[in-house]
């Protein structure tokens, strides 16, 4: 008797609990939908979240709208966009230009058509960086590596031969010193080594009909192979060593054991905090111009904006508001990166930022096609093998192997 009684009470209470949950949940989704309908949701990474919040607020109050800025890990912005639920999806994202190919191939972002006047203020290479058949992003900031010279310990080199001489002399001048401080590590780092790669006339993909062609690989082109013996010489005289990894590279420069450091604007503050007085220049021309890889950051409109009924607002924010030179200048000040807009670039006051902007001249945007994924690993490995020290592989062989492997991967993928 007692058990039946318990059963009924139990069932009743559970039903009550379930009903209460039903009521609660029928209220909650309505609330969240309202939130999405009336505001623009933006995904930004930690570095730029404060700057974006401020600018989004400015735009929102000027238009009588609301903007919701959500902070995410930088890589997560690209990855989560594939799997996010439509109700939680962003309308605008801050993206690196080399995601363009992948995001466009996945159909997750929409083509943009900004006004001609706005586009004129963006350099051609930055526009191209976000182009994958069509323009998919509005560039807002530029990033590139350059040569940081510790002016107290060494002089700015006039040309490559000068750099070689000075760096090696610096290395001999004390124990534990390195000549050219550029990070690789056992996994390799093709990005940081790119100025040296392009200086020897290497390139990644050739183009056909205005688009990058993954079948035209320039990793072991004839000109580069001819110049590759210079790498063997550098390895023998100890100019470049692949044993240096990211942390070590920073340590060496900030402790005065390296006077020539190839790194990017993310380390400007690090060097300043360590009390180093430094000048930033482009790596001097070796056989061809030693241009760096350019990273362009920009804003993209996702395909979810239309389903959230904020497509017009999203396009207005990205194509009109953020294209203005005043917006981009504000972003620069808060963000520490060189602006894409040329008018804003003229207003940059920070010396190091100006120098690194100048050092980007002629730079090559990282290829934004999905095939680029197959290049990083092998290109980095080729450098590691060729600059290992005593048991290094001859550079010509190392890069030819790399080119062969990359071709196989691109074909297989």
């Amino acid at each position: 008797m007692l058990n039946r009684f318990t059963w009924r009470i139990g069932a009743l209470l559970i039903a009550v609990g379930a009903l209460a949950a039903l009521v609660a949940t029928s209220v909650a989704p309505a609330a969240s939908h309202k939130r999405t309908a009336g505001s623009l949701r933006i995904w930004v990474d930690a570095d730029r979240v404060n700057a974006t919040k401020k600018l989004a607020q400015q735009w929102a109050s000027s238009r009588g709208f609301t903007a919701q800025v959500v902070q995410k890990g930088f890589g997560n912005i690209r990855d989560d966009l594939k799997t996010v639920k439509a109700a939680d999806a962003p309308d605008v994202i801050m993206a690196a230009h080399d995601w363009t190919g992948e995001l466009a191939a996945n159909g997750l972002v929409v083509p943009l058509f900004p006004k001609k006047a706005a586009l004129k203020q963006i350099p051609a290479y930055a526009r191209k960086a976000f182009t994958y058949g069509k323009l998919f992003g509005m560039p807002v900031a530029l990033e590139n590596v350059a040569l940081f010279v510790n002016t107290k310990l060494a002089k700015v080199p006039k040309n490559w031969a000068d750099l070689e001489k000075k760096a090696l002399a610096f290395k001999k001048g004390g124990s534990g010193r390195v000549a050219l401080d550029v990070q690789q590590g056992s996994g390799g780092d093709a990005y940081h080594m790119y100025p040296l790669f392009s200086g020897l006339c290497g390139y990644i993909f050739g183009s056909s009909s205005g688009r990058l062609n993954p079948n035209k690989l320039g990793v072991a082109n004839a000109k580069f192979l001819k110049n590759a013996k210079l790498i063997d010489r550098w390895n023998k005289e100890g100019l470049v060593s692949s044993k240096i990894d990211g942390n070590t590279a920073t340590q060496l420069f900030t402790s005065g054991k390296a006077a020539y450091w190839i790194t990017g604007p993310w380390n400007i503050d690090t060097a300043r905090k360590a009390g180093i007085s430094f000048k930033i220049v482009q790596v001097p021309k070796i056989k061809c111009a030693s241009v760096p890889f350019l990273g362009v950051q920009g804003l993209m409109v996702t395909k979810y904006a239309a389903s959230h009924s904020v497509a017009t607002a999203a396009k207005d924010f990205v194509q009109s508001f953020m294209a203005k030179s005043s917006s981009q200048y504000e972003l620069t000040v808060l963000n520490g990166r060189y602006p894409a807009n040329t008018a804003a670039a003229k207003r940059v006051k920070d010396t190091s930022l100006k120098q690194i902007g100048l050092a980007s001249k002629g730079g090559v945007p990282m290829p934004n096609i999905p095939a680029m994924n197959s290049v990083w690993g092998d290109l980095g490995t080729a450098w590691v093998k060729a600059t290992k020290g005593e048991d290094a592989t001859p550079a010509k062989a190392a890069f030819q192997t790399a080119a062969r492997n990359i071709r196989a991967k691109i074909a297989g993928g």
């Binding site: 997750l108 017009t312 590691v384 991967k409 993928g413």
Partner: protein
């Protein structure tokens, strides 16, 4: 192994038996007793119903979300399971089921369901370019292939309403400044005198009221969507608003035929057909992007078997994974056991040594592996600096020394675990057995081999198998220490220290067109079968050790 005449009854000395709660002298009860009496009767009943109510409320919430997504099979399964669980807990008796349900629920939720999903993905083409559903892909293609015509114009836009309150576009040619009115019927030029312009855009026009910004963005007005979908037909395409102040003339470059399910390029008539593998493709191999996610049968598995890029390193990597896991577990167990035996006897600093020997296990592995990566650096790491002249090695840069380094670091990480386990297990070996053996004249090594070790293996056998399975898939140490490198001579993807799981990761995410989830899922299934087979055989064989009892 143990001579049968030595079989001793160990049943009452094997494991310390949990003492039943006892009432001590003076009426004071132990904590377990008090808890049991407190939760009997009404209090227990109420607690049980409250917990069940909360559980049901959560399930109802989940069912609502699933139903909103239209996933009816999970709804049905979850509802049926919840009702079953409620019934079992409310009815009296059925005690075994009541104890097993929480574990079973978690097993299904966190092990079985992910496995089912992985198997499902392995039969699709889920990868970069194949994320969307087919209708979404068709829509995207239609949108992405709109292009400005050769002499296409752009306009400065001002949204407005006509006398009937309908939405129209007041357009001013961005180059010439000529004003127009755009409606869903078409483009109509207007007289310059009837409009007011400023900065190349129309600010006011006769017969129309410009829409103020606030109204445009008001979500209740629905104007955002209306404006986004507004089209002014012109030429072969239409004028599309882009934002609130810009409009562009675009025309389609592909034509979609819904009956034949093909796209035809307008300029030269090339036809794109559904190629059954998730994209539209020409007779040549030109594909339209984006594609869509679809089932492709066994093509992932046939690719693993047939593609030389994937197959060639597979055996080498498999062998190295076995070697790595076996050496790690074997040597760590040996070291842990040795230290446990050594530190069994009481001596001055026994506690101190026990503590510091556990430290490698206690500090987060992520940190320590990265630190080891720095310590083992050729030129700058302290290991090479401390070693006497001539003994320094290219720890992480040479193929074989990298393998040695990886094993040494993983032993460093694993031995404290076996040290602790062995300390405990050694206590459970009855002293009488050892004494009896000594009396019989057995030496220390014989005692160890014939008594201590077999009994120890009975207790720690499952742990060894589990540790082997863990190290078989120990992605962290490989990726953090060497990233799978250094590059071994021939193979392109697999480095010298790559184990199956890091190799899978590289294939799936660092080659071809980017992320290839389907391929990763396929290889994961293979790894599962390998590990499951080994574990199964190992458990079956370890039953032989059980007969010692």
């Amino acid at each position: 192994m143990i001579p049968s005449r030595r079989r001793t009854d160990l049943s009452n000395t094997a494991v310390p038996v949990e003492r039943a709660p006892t009432v001590r002298a003076g009426g004071a009860t132990s904590l377990p007793t008090r808890l049991v009496t407190a939760f009997s009767g009404t209090v227990g009943l109420v607690t049980k119903i409250a917990l069940l109510a909360i559980f049901n409320a959560l399930v109802v919430w989940a069912l609502e979300i699933l139903a909103a997504d239209g996933k009816w099979i999970p709804v049905f399964i979850a509802a049926a399971a919840t009702v079953t669980i409620d019934v079992i807990y409310l009815l009296p008796g059925r005690t075994p089921a009541k104890f097993l349900i929480p574990g079973t629920v978690f097993l299904i939720a966190f092990t079985v369901i992910p496995i089912v999903y992985t198997v499902n993905i392995a039969f699709t083409n889920y990868s970069t370019g194949h994320i969307l559903s087919k209708p979404q892909a068709v829509d995207s293609i239609k949108q992405f292939t709109l292009a400005p015509p050769p002499s296409g114009k752009t306009y400065n836009l001002t949204p407005a309403r006509d006398e009937n309150g309908d939405l129209v576009l007041l357009l001013a040619d961005a180059d010439t400044g000529k004003p127009y009115v755009g409606t869903t019927e078409g483009l109509k030029p207007v007289d310059r005198s009837t409009v007011k312009m400023s900065f190349g855009a129309i600010t006011a026009a006769q017969g129309y009221t410009a829409i103020k910004g606030a109204e445009l963005f008001d979500p209740a007005s629905g104007l955002d969507k209306q404006l986004d979908e507004f089209r002014v037909p012109v030429g072969r395409g239409a004028i599309h608003p882009e934002g609130i102040d810009n409009a562009v003339e675009l025309e389609p470059t592909l034509r979609y035929n819904p009956q034949a399910d093909t796209f035809t390029r307008i300029s030269d008539g090339v036809v794109y057909r559904d190629n059954g593998k998730g994209s539209y493709q020409t007779a040549g191999s030109e594909e339209l992007e984006p594609g869509w996610k679809t089932y492709v049968g066994f093509s992932v598995f046939s690719r693993i078997i047939n593609d030389p890029l994937i197959r060639n390193p597979f055996l080498r990597v498999l062998l190295w994974t076995f070697v790595f896991a076996t050496l790690t577990v074997g040597l760590s167990f040996a070291l842990g056991l040795f230290l446990a035996i050594t530190l069994q006897k009481q001596f001055a600093l026994q506690r101190f040594y026990r503590v510091i020997l556990v430290l490698p296990y206690a500090i987060p592995a992520f940190l320590t592996i990265l630190v080891w990566g720095g310590l083992l650096n050729d030129d700058f790491g302290i290991v090479n600096k401390l070693l006497p002249w001539g003994l320094d090695r290219p720890w992480l840069f040479d193929v074989w020394w990298a393998r040695v380094s990886v094993i040494l670091v993983s032993i460093w990480l694993t031995f404290p675990y076996f040290f602790l386990v062995c300390l405990g297990a050694l206590q459970s070996i009855p002293g009488e057995l050892v004494e009896a053996a000594r009396v019989d004249g057995a030496g220390a090594w014989q005692v160890f081999r014939k008594i201590t070790l077999p009994l120890l293996l009975v207790a720690t056998g499952p742990l060894l198998i589990a540790s082997f399975a863990f190290n078989f898939n120990n992605f962290n140490i490989i990726y953090l220490l060497t990233k799978g490198g250094p590059a071994s001579g021939e193979s392109s993807i697999a480095g010298a220290t790559d184990i199956l799981i890091s190799y899978t990761y590289k294939i799936a995410f660092a080659t071809g067109k980017g992320s290839d989830y389907a391929l990763a899922a396929g290889i994961s299934i293979l790894i599962f079968f390998i590990v499951a087979t080994i574990s199964g055989i190992a458990f079956w064989r370890s039953k032989a050790l059980e007969t010692l009892r």
